[in-house]
Symmetry: C2
């Protein structure tokens, strides 16, 4: 193999991230070696260290960036005034956002245990912030009388688990269209919260 020359940092950097995301989602962080990532990018293992100080930071950045983008994207969409409308928007947003980013979502859920303590705490805080977005909606609906829920925190966890589960079975060209999936999930959530 001929040696590569010239500057590619603006190309290779994103490629490293993309390859790491794909491989870690498929095989797990601990099961993927730096050599595998390098091979997928088309460079040698040593070259990866130009783009990340170490393997742990690579994982942490993938998870942090995913959750931060999730939060900012939701912040842009959370405009509805009424609890029912806001809950519907949240359901459809959550489903679409997760369907579109299966690898990031999978990693953010599955690789918590491979984070070092400080990184773990930071990611847990971001995830908690997102859960609070839904709980705030449920509490507002409770106050307004739109929802009937004995425990808003349990309902928050139940709804997020239900919606995120879409990634375990949904396929883009499958039996159900994206719009149909959105609508069915929303109907189940709507009924579950007593709206």
């Amino acid at each position: 193999m001929a040696r590569k020359t010239g500057s590619h940092s603006e190309i290779t950097g994103p490629l490293v991230r993309a390859a790491a995301q794909r491989l870690i989602a498929a095989h797990g962080f601990a099961a993927v070696s730096m050599r595998q990532i390098a091979s997928a990018v088309g460079v040698q293992a040593g070259a990866l260290y130009l783009y990340t100080p170490d393997k742990q930071t690579l994982l942490f950045n993938i998870m942090r960036d995913h959750l931060q983008e999730l939060l900012t994207t939701w912040a842009d969409q959370a405009q509805h005034e009424h609890p029912i409308g806001r809950l519907e928007t949240f359901c459809k947003f959550h489903i679409n956002y997760h369907i579109d980013r299966p690898d990031e979502v999978f990693i953010a859920y599955m690789e918590m245990r491979n984070l070092e303590p400080d990184n773990f705490a930071a990611i847990e805080t971001l995830r908690h912030e997102y859960e609070d977005q839904l709980e705030t909606i449920l509490l507002a609906g409770q106050s307004s009388g739109d929802f009937k829920l004995p425990d808003s925190r349990l309902a928050t966890m139940a709804i997020i688990a239900m919606l995120t589960g879409v990634n375990t079975w949904y396929q883009e060209d499958g039996r159900l269209s994206r719009q149909r999936v959105e609508r069915i999930y929303w109907n189940m959530v709507r009924r579950a919260v007593g709206a």
Copy 2:
């Protein structure tokens, strides 16, 4: 350390399984070494190979036994005649069974990707059998007019995801009692299926 003598196969075998379960649930299959498992049991790494032909089989047996016991335990409880009663029994069974076996459940969901192809297929079949147990209930309730669901397969996946999610937050001495958790989840499921 003095060398151990005498026969302990009936003691050590289950200890190996138990240690492997605990460690794999905590750190992930790929991240746990045979030496760590051996150390947790109190033997040397080489001795583990008296109880498993290799690391892969150890994982497979943990997952297979968990799912087989899940299926047989449910088969013993599935007595209710009416769809609503059967669904209630299923919800409470699923929640309790999962709360009681967090490690096995976690491994069965998270370590699919570390199974070799044949083992993966076998575990997937068992998981599918369990999902079919719930779908059968939903289809019966649909036919009898007790449930109103646009898609029974989606509802099956949604309900299982929602109920299994209890393991991500439930704590035995937490704010909510087990009976209360069972009842709240059942109420959300009952409303979600339109009963």
